[in-house]
Symmetry: C2
Subunit: 245 residues, 2 copies
DNA sequence: CCGATGCTTCGACACGAATCGAAATGTGCA
DNA sequence: TGCACATTTCGATTCGTGTCGAAGCATCGG
């Protein structure tokens, strides 16, 4: 039927089914879940789920581990999660593109807190600045390594690097920003960094929402230390750039 | 049927058809092609192609430009190309996993030249080392920015940075390594860097194939300057780590 | 040994989508 | 105006596959 077997389409085919996609998405955090829970997550019966899981397994997207009478499924690797994320970043853009965002929505899109670290267009720009200056470097598994010059810089900014405890998921890591389709800084370092920016008067938290405001002092500092410009942060829809590793 | 409309699966669905995937792949280099050529590339008739193109357009994966009686289609953005690459990186792994590679295949997988820069497991490891040490930093559109410390280091290695001309596609950029599913160093800097490594006796080109060999002197230097170890380069299938930007 | 639970296999049904032929629209050229 | 070419629309056919009911296998607990 087709000149060459198309590997791209065969991979996409496995993700194209809503039930299969729901199962995969339920596994993106790296957990291993039993077939029954995946069936529930996908909203299908156990038979249907079993059929889908067999296909995902044969396609190399899942791995399985039998334990007693349970079979725990997990993603075959982080590359599967990556592909899912990039695929997810495809549709919302086109769907939301024409919808005129409310004032409140625009504020949230510009800068907000994600748990307790900085997100939104500002969060992405800050993370980009940190990386371009070599203060942090992406490593395996979404981790971020703080370079020696980064240690020095964060210290000068008022972050007590020695007091920062590396949590189970690392000191600093990248968190996918769903409105921007790019990464911002998360982890203990991200939390401390935003706390410092707030206490030094660069940022101001809103009481009623998750929105964040930047003070004039903050704009000056961000521009000077990270090259984050007030005019350039929102508009230029910079393209996604994956790292080497 | 499904609790939430699943954006991931709807995107994947568009790529899941072999004909549509073939069209998209024909466009990954950023060109704009008329509908007729895309029909030929996909191996279907013009009517079928038109139907597919309309779906891809409605899904936001393609953009179109009408010029005379031709309609030129191109990808809606680099994020589409990115998603395709990560999707393509999914399947070959599973397909090749069990196939015992020949001696010659193993050599090529270990290190080879891609045009005139270094590729294969060694190429990926070298690029990873360069990035971990902060010599290069990923930027938008697959570009790599050489940091000040990177300029100094490449200079000390014997690369004449002042003589390097930045081509139309930049001084240094990341090139997806299809056997490794990770990025290696390309662009004028990549070309010059491999030339230096060869002339300083670290690497040796094979005459009959694209394979590359590492000399004992090379292993010592790679270990010292980039932390690339002979034992660790092949085995540890490090996970993919996307950059912040 | 028996029933309960978790999961998979088998079989049948129905919906959706890809495909192509034929015809319509629209553009360029003489 | 008339013809050639590029592309789209319409309609009918065929095939693949997602779905679930029922039954078949494992494992755990008593």
């Amino acid at each position: 039927m087709h000149p060459l077997p198309n590997y791209v389409s065969s991979s996409a085919f496995l993700i194209a089914d809503p039930a299969r996609a729901a199962m995969l998405i339920a596994l993106v955090d790296g957990r291993a879940l039993p077939a029954g829970e995946l069936a529930y997550a996908a909203g299908v019966t156990a038979q249907t789920a079993s059929s889908h899981l067999a296909k995902l397994l044969a396609g190399g997207l899942l791995a399985v581990e039998t334990e007693g009478r349970h079979r725990y499924y997990r993603l075959a690797g982080s590359h599967v999660a990556l592909a899912l994320e990039h695929l997810a970043a495809l549709k919302p853009l086109a769907a939301v593109r024409r919808k005129p965002l409310s004032r409140e929505g625009l504020d949230l899109r510009f800068a907000r807190r994600c748990y307790d670290h900085l997100a939104g267009q500002l969060g992405v720009a800050v993370a980009q600045g940190l990386q371009e200056r070599g203060f942090v470097v992406p490593a395996a598994d979404k981790q971020l390594v703080v370079t020696p010059s980064g240690m020095q810089w964060f210290g000068a900014m008022g972050v007590d690097m020695t007091a920062l405890k590396s949590s189970r998921r690392g000191l600093a890591r990248q968190c996918l920003d769903w409105t921007e389709r790019r990464y911002h800084l998360a982890g203990p370092l991200g939390v401390q960094f935003m706390a410092v920016l707030c206490s030094s008067g660069w940022l101001r938290r809103s009481k009623s929402s998750r929105a964040i405001q930047v003070t004039p002092l903050g704009w000056a500092g961000l521009k000077k230390h990270l090259g984050v410009d007030e005019g350039s942060v929102g508009l230029p829809a910079c393209k996604l750039a994956p790292s080497i590793s």
